[in-house]
């Protein structure tokens, strides 16, 4: 009897939590497929009487949204590429080599994550100006790469730690040098970890707002978050277009996230839980 009550209680809580977590998304979607007359109609109705994709059509034809998507894709792809090129060797070294100052080096990398972002923004701004990187996608890629590299190293180090050293040794005995071991033996074993690390990088750069607002606020380089922020200010306030933009920007990242979340979360939690 108590078991049954416990079970029912658990499900009530789960349903409540799911509604709080996902209800806002459902509401955004429903708004995006309503005709304008229904969005602002009183009495209120929750479900659209007439489904329409007019808001999506307006989003793609009367706003530069598709360009923002394109900018976001470029930034995310290059940030992921640059970060992995930096972080895979470093992660390998932190996992496999022994050298003096390793602990300190790792601690300093991680502590770079704790500076308030406003302090970084104020400090980077004059530099970006000097190098002519303001309103330039390269500037964003450089900043994002530096910002996500430490945690990516941490993730990848953890994934390398999970591969027994005996495997490297066996490959070395078979005549591989260190690069061949990494390239042909370890990386294939690490592929799901690399996907998880890329997911972290892509989600970060797809979502990031404050750096993008400060360093890429011009329409030729705007990424989705700054673009949406602009829409909030400018369309004062066309909720059909805004929610359509929200749905389009959320879909790719959420699908990606749901696919890799298990691996990403296990990488994220091992470090902190073992501490």
């Amino acid at each position: 009897m108590t078991k049954l009550v416990g079970r029912i209680l658990t499900w009530v809580l789960i349903v409540g939590w799911l509604s709080f977590a996902l209800g806002p998304y459902v509401w955004m979607f429903l708004t995006s497929v309503k005709p304008k007359s229904e969005i602002y109609s009183l009495p209120f109705h929750y479900f659209p009487k007439h489904w329409t994709f007019a808001s999506y059509h307006a989003l793609f034809t009367s706003t530069p949204f598709i360009q923002y998507v394109f900018h976001s894709l470029i930034v995310a792809a290059f940030t992921a590429l640059c970060t992995l090129l930096l972080a895979i060797p470093a992660g390998f070294s932190f996992s496999r080599h022994r050298f003096r100052g390793k602990g300190i080096a790792l601690a300093m990398l991680i502590s770079s994550q704790f500076f308030p972002s406003i302090l970084l923004i104020l400090g980077i701004f004059p530099l970006m100006k000097e190098f002519g990187l303001i309103n330039h996608l390269t500037g964003l890629i450089v900043i994002y790469t530096a910002f996500v590299t430490p945690f990516t190293i941490w993730l990848i180090k953890g994934f390398f730690d999970g591969i027994p050293r005996e495997i490297d040794e066996a490959a070395m005995i078979d005549g591989c040098n260190q690069f061949q071991v990494i390239r042909h033996v370890l990386l294939p074993l690490l592929s799901s970890g690399i996907v998880a690390a890329s997911a972290y990088i892509v989600i970060f750069s797809w979502n990031e707002f404050l750096f993008a607002l400060t360093f890429a606020s011009n329409s030729n380089v705007m990424t989705i978050p700054v673009g949406l922020d602009n829409f909030i200010g400018n369309f004062n306030i066309n909720w059909g277009i805004l929610t359509a933009g929200g749905v389009v920007s959320a879909i790719p990242i959420l699908i990606f996230f749901l696919v890799v979340q298990r691996r990403l979360i296990s990488g994220l939690t091992t470090g902190a839980v073992k501490s």
């Binding site: 789960i14 998304y25 509401w27 080599h97 104020l122 404050l210 990242i253 902190a272 839980v273 501490s275």
Partner: protein
């Protein structure tokens, strides 16, 4: 086990002139150049008057610090930062703990539920702001409508444009985004608890609450404390929602230190004052973190 490992390492350094340093140098240079150097640069700028438009620079000593501490708006920002950080982290911890307990039950579709409740955490801040601005809209928002329907129309209000409700409404958005992170971290810690321990407690007649408080909670406590610290650091610096939704208003009712610094730099063009605010924030956080770490290491909680 350890002996062959050592010989392997020796072998490797002999065969390969390419030492560990070359694997680490590139990433270290990038992080030091793009994060380390700017932090130092910002600290230096806080002693200057700097105009971001003309790049003119004059040394003013500690004048920027004197000015911000005499500024009543900054005093409000400090108070709001404290409310914002402690309030958000406290409720995230409570609900995250409840969430972790729920997800730790065995039920059908658990991994699907875990993935779905994490979605707010992967949501861009702009999107979270946009969704909740629409839900909390004065005239067409679904929350005010629901309140009216259940007979609480007196509670329906302009959530973001009144000074009493602006900051709490922003905190609600942050709770929505942040609870899953806590829940998942704590869940991972709970799943590391061996089943035998819990079984033994149950055999001794402990009920579910007692098992939780006496057996599970002490084991997950280090994770609770570390996660709380990470969240405090992160939440204190998080200004996206405030910049997007209220710009610190109405008046200064939802202005926190990072938001104040942002507007001071880029709207008032008082770059020195802004960097001074950011430095104050960083120093205070640093002191809090050190104090917190010393406190918990004195208790010996982390050494288990």
């Amino acid at each position: 086990m350890s002996l062959p490992n050592l010989s392997y390492l020796k072998n490797q350094t002999r065969k390969n002139k390419f030492g560990p340093i070359w694997y680490i140098i590139p990433s270290t240079i990038v992080v030091a150049g793009v994060i380390g150097y700017p932090v130092i640069h910002a600290v230096i700028l806080s002693f200057y008057n700097y105009n971001p438009l003309s790049s003119s620079l004059t040394f003013v000593g500690i004048a920027n610090y004197v000015n911000i501490f005499g500024d009543s708006v900054f005093h409000q920002a400090i108070l709001h930062s404290v409310i914002w950080t402690l309030g958000v982290v406290f409720f995230q911890l409570i609900f995250g703990l409840i969430g972790a307990v729920i997800l730790n039950q065995s039920f059908k579709g658990r991994s699907v539920v875990r993935g779905l409740v994490l979605i707010p955490w992967a949501t861009p801040s702009v999107l979270a702001a946009l969704i909740w601005m629409w839900i909390l809209d004065d005239n067409y928002g679904v929350l005010n409508h629901l309140l009216t329907q259940v007979g609480l129309s007196s509670l329906a209000q302009a959530w973001f444009s009144q000074s009493v409700t602006a900051l709490p409404s922003l905190m609600l958005i942050d709770l929505w985004q942040g609870i899953p992170f806590f829940a998942v971290m704590l869940l991972a810690a709970m799943q590391s608890i061996s089943g035998d321990l819990v079984e033994a407690a149950k055999l001794d007649g402990a009920n579910a609450f007692r098992t939780f408080w006496s057996i599970k909670f002490p084991i997950i406590l280090p994770t609770v404390l570390i996660t709380t610290m990470l969240r405090i650091i992160w939440t204190a610096s998080y200004a996206d929602l405030i910049l997007i939704v209220t710009q610190g208003g109405p008046g200064y009712a939802s202005l926190t230190i990072p938001a104040d610094a942002y507007f001071t730099a880029y709207s008032d063009l008082n770059y020195g004052g802004a960097t001074a605010m950011a430095v104050v924030q960083a120093v205070v956080l640093f002191i809090v973190v050190i104090w917190y770490l010393r406190l918990i290491s004195k208790q010996g909680i982390l050494e288990q």
